[in-house]
Amino acid sequence: MSGPLLDVRALSKHFGGVQAATDVHLSVDAGSITSVIGPNGAGKSTLMAMLSGHSIPDSGNVFYEGRDVTKWPAHRRASAGVVRKFQRPAYFPGLSVVENLEIGVVAAGIRGGRAMRARAREVADIVQLDDARYVTAGSLPHGRTQWLEIGLLLACRARVMLLDEPTAGMTRQETADTATLIHQLVHDLEMAVVVVEHDIDFVRSLDSQVTVLHLGQVIATGSMSDVEQDAQTRLVYLGE
Amino acid sequence: MTSLDPAGPSRRSFLKTAALAGVVAAAPLPLLSACGASGGGSGSGPIRIGVLTPLSGPWTIFGKAHLAGFQLATDQINAKGGTLGRKWELVVADSKTDSTVVTQQANRLAKQENVDFFAGTFTSAERNAAAPVVTAADKLLLYPTFYEGQNQDFYPGVCNPNIFMFGSEPSGQVYPFLEYMLNKHGKRFFLAGSDYVWPRETNRLVKAKLAELGGEVVGEAYAPIGTAQFGGLIEKIRNADTDVLFLSVVGSDSVAMRQQLLSSGLKDSLTVWSVGNEESSTSGIGPAASAGDYASFDYFWALDNPKNVEFKRAMTKKFPGTIMNNVGVDMYNAAHMAALAIEKAGSVETAKMRAGLEDLVFEDAPQGKVTMRAEDHQAALPSFLAKVREGWTGVDDMFEIVQSVDQVVPSDSTCAKLPLRRP
């Protein structure tokens, strides 16, 4: 395919007097990981919301597979393949893991009990919830709910995964496993992943393209090591 | 794990089925067996009467008097040994002020309780709802309330050979006093009522009579049952420059209406004539909002005659604190007249009892003489116009009778099904 999978051009958004995003550009290719970092209030969540369709920018455009999806509502973007994982794990707590995944599978257009179950089982294996298929999701430990939600994104055939702080509340080991999982998804399934994170170590372990936001503006892009050399980034983010 | 125990699922589900069958089947059984056994029928045993009365809902305030009247008469009849040597037994059903429930309960009384005849229902709407059931079961219904007359063929509760009306219709309740009110308080009438058949039909008849007498209808309005705010209506009354406000708003709505009329300051500049507010709703309205207003019915607690004194004594003794009204008294009359009819006919069979009630005269009614007309089952009753006393403190000093008529012959019904007398 020619051109980036997700192409963000000159997005701006303000809330009242606060400029939450100013002229943000971002380009995401299939099979790549993009990390967005920045201090609190940098506009990371706003950017995520504009990518997922939960928020409509004041100006600028979002292109997905060459189509302008700027004004598409969240559900339409999701069914086209741009799916978001929320900061707090969002899943269906009263249902079992497999029932959760089946809802995702149905979203991918798979119908019929057998096919649906098979696919849900497959996804459960990928996110290592195969042992807990019939456990009520609400009773899963926190770290595993994060994976369940990633499983949901997988189940509905996401092509672009928007991961909002995917390792929040995870143990060190779980965080490392998550990085491995993301790599695996990108590698095996040619997915594009956009990660918003606080945890610099995790971002470092993703070894991805990094975009640094500050006060709604992109102040640096490049690999993690490039960005860490950037003076402005060091100033605003790393506090030096 | 399931697969480890091949015998498990089937056996388990069998046990489950058996257990559940027991539980589910057991539940409805007491309900089934509780009924059916009790059946009156004709012949021996007590005479069973189904009484449909509003014990809950907005018309609860009338329900007490409604039921008490019939119960008092039943006690008196039973004290004398019942009729044809059979005691009376009441099966009371709550109409919940809901015509749908009336249909349901009337069916229950007919099909399950096997009552010999029915008494009650409060509004015309309730009577109309009960009518198809009593017709299907071929039982009589004794209806006690003031009502709209028998001109609307399309309602099943009108000109129904199985229904007897013991209350007054507009020609009895209103006509005798129209001229008096016209001359004394002015020609400009505003007709306001609750939105259902009785007020609408009453007002239609009143309009016709007013035109005859040279009065003028300056406005007509209906408020749905359950209205709490009458601001718009009161404004219309004010703008119409009304002399007499002819009110057929009923129940708790009328309480709100009269209170708001007082607070609007309009009450002093017109005369209120209510045909729906008897003793119990006037108690709710209170002295301030009712003082000086008129009401007309076939009975008032205030009536000073020996039979009413005796009735009041008996009523106060049996149901102390109950506010009695014309509907309750007409229930009382209905019971006594039914007893007379049964004795006369020698049977509680519907056809015979019907013949017994037709042309029956009851001299001992608390309000005077009651005659049941055969051709349309309407009662000829006395009629009274009363004025609410200033600063009344209770039902005893609430109304003051200003006009009275000993017996009004109901105006002719225009129903095509007449006459009701069967060959």
């Binding site: 559900h75 339409r76 973007r77 999701a78 086209a80 799916v83 978001r84 969002a90 899943y91 269906f92 009263g94 249902l95 079992s96 029932e99 959760n100 809802i103 995702g104 149905v106 979203a107 119908r111 290592q128 042992d131 298929r133 019939y134 456990v135 009773s139 430990p141 | 794990m1 498990g8 699922p9 388990r12 489950k16 257990a19 559940l20 069958a21 539940a27 409805p28 309900l31 014990l55 919940k96 809901d98 015509s99 749908t100 429930v101 249909t103 349901q104 069916n107 007919a110 099909k111 399950q112 015309s124 709407a125 109309n128 198809p132 309602y155 939105d195 259902y196 058949v197 749905p224 049952i225």
Partner: protein
């Protein structure tokens, strides 16, 4: 089956019990079969009043199941089901008297269903699109029942207003073949078949993809939307379908009872539907059905005997169920039976 070690201790014990694939629904269907069998047997053992009244209560049960669909499955609490029931009843009443023959009857049923579905759909889409939900939508459904009652009362030319409307027992026939509801026993079995049909249809629906997604929306609306589901559209469909079922039940109820009045739309009736479903168990269609049947039956017995105390008792029972048995009496029973079954 193997369990991974990383499972934390406090949830481990629960897991063992629940980790097996549940045979979801078996117990409910089994119980329902028993109930339907009992109902099937009633005309041969009961009296004529039971044959007359039970179809009406079964239709209340259908109405309750329509609420289970939106509330239990979709998480949309509605105090407006009574209004749709009423639309069905009035439509049949009006059209069957004004259009002669079986055409009028079918037209009445069809118009009632279509009108309810359309009103519910339009209103729901209008509001769900704007993300009106939760308590606010409950308020709107309260408004639906209030406005429904007001219209039924005031449009007296059409509905008979407060006086109500009389509907005779109709014949449901297609080119001479069909059922004549005039006979109590015929209409009993007809309504029973209808009730079973609705139950089966709703059970199928709850297992279908649509049903699963609806549950997903109930559990987490944001997540469902972010998975690509048009949440507003699906909730609207559910609400509209539920209104259609309520209207169908209402139409048959109208002809069964022979009389309808605006009281069916008022807040009291609509809230008693919520009561039936809450006490029976909102998560199970059988809960709604049994709740409606049982409470109607017992109410009828106790209402005349101890009207105030019975209402009080019902209130206390309702409070107890909401506090203690979120899944209702039937729902809790089903789950308890499942648990016993699973433990073996």
């Amino acid at each position: 089956m193997s369990f991974k070690v990383e499972v934390s201790h406090e949830t481990a014990s629960r897991k063992v019990v629940r980790a097996r694939r549940p045979r979801r629904g078996n117990t409910e269907d089994l119980l329902a079969t028993v109930l339907f069998a009992v109902l099937f047997a009633v005309p041969s053992v009961g009296d004529s009043y039971q044959v007359f009244i039970l179809p009406q209560y079964m239709l209340f049960g259908v109405l309750a199941m329509s609420l289970c669909l939106v509330w239990g499955l979709g998480g949309i609490l509605s105090f407006g089901q009574g209004a749709f029931f009423l639309i069905g009843a009035y439509a049949l009443g009006i059209l069957s008297t004004r259009v002669s023959g079986s055409l009028g009857v079918w037209l009445g049923i069809a118009v009632g269903i279509a009108l309810s579905a359309a009103v519910a759909g339009a209103l729901a889409y209008f509001l769900f699109r704007a993300r009106v939900r939760g308590s606010y939508f409950v308020l709107v459904t309260l408004a639906i029942s209030t406005i429904g009652g007001v219209i039924a009362t005031s449009a007296s030319d059409l509905t008979g207003g407060f006086n109500g409307m009389f509907i005779s027992r109709v014949q449901l026939t297609v080119s001479g073949w069909g059922v004549d509801l005039a006979s109590d026993s015929t209409s009993y079995y007809f309504v029973l078949a209808l009730t079973i049909g609705v139950y089966v249809m709703l059970r199928w629906l709850s297992r279908s993809a649509f049903g699963r997604v609806l549950v997903g929306i109930r559990e987490n609306e944001e997540r469902a939307e972010a998975l690509g589901y048009d949440v507003a559209l699906r909730k609207t469909l559910a609400f509209s379908l539920s209104a259609a079922i309520a209207a169908m039940a209402g139409a048959i109820y109208g002809t069964e009872a022979g009389f309808v009045s605006p009281s069916l739309a008022d807040v009291v009736f609509s809230t008693s539907i919520v009561l039936w479903v809450a006490i029976g168990g909102r998560d199970f269609f059988l809960g709604g059905l049994v709740g409606a049947l049982a409470i109607s039956l017992v109410s009828e017995k106790l209402n005349s005997a101890i009207p105030e105390y019975w209402q009080l008792l019902l209130g206390v029972l309702f409070l107890a169920v909401v506090i203690g048995f979120r899944r209702g009496i039937v729902g809790s029973a089903i789950l308890a039976i499942d648990r016993v079954g699973d433990r073996r």
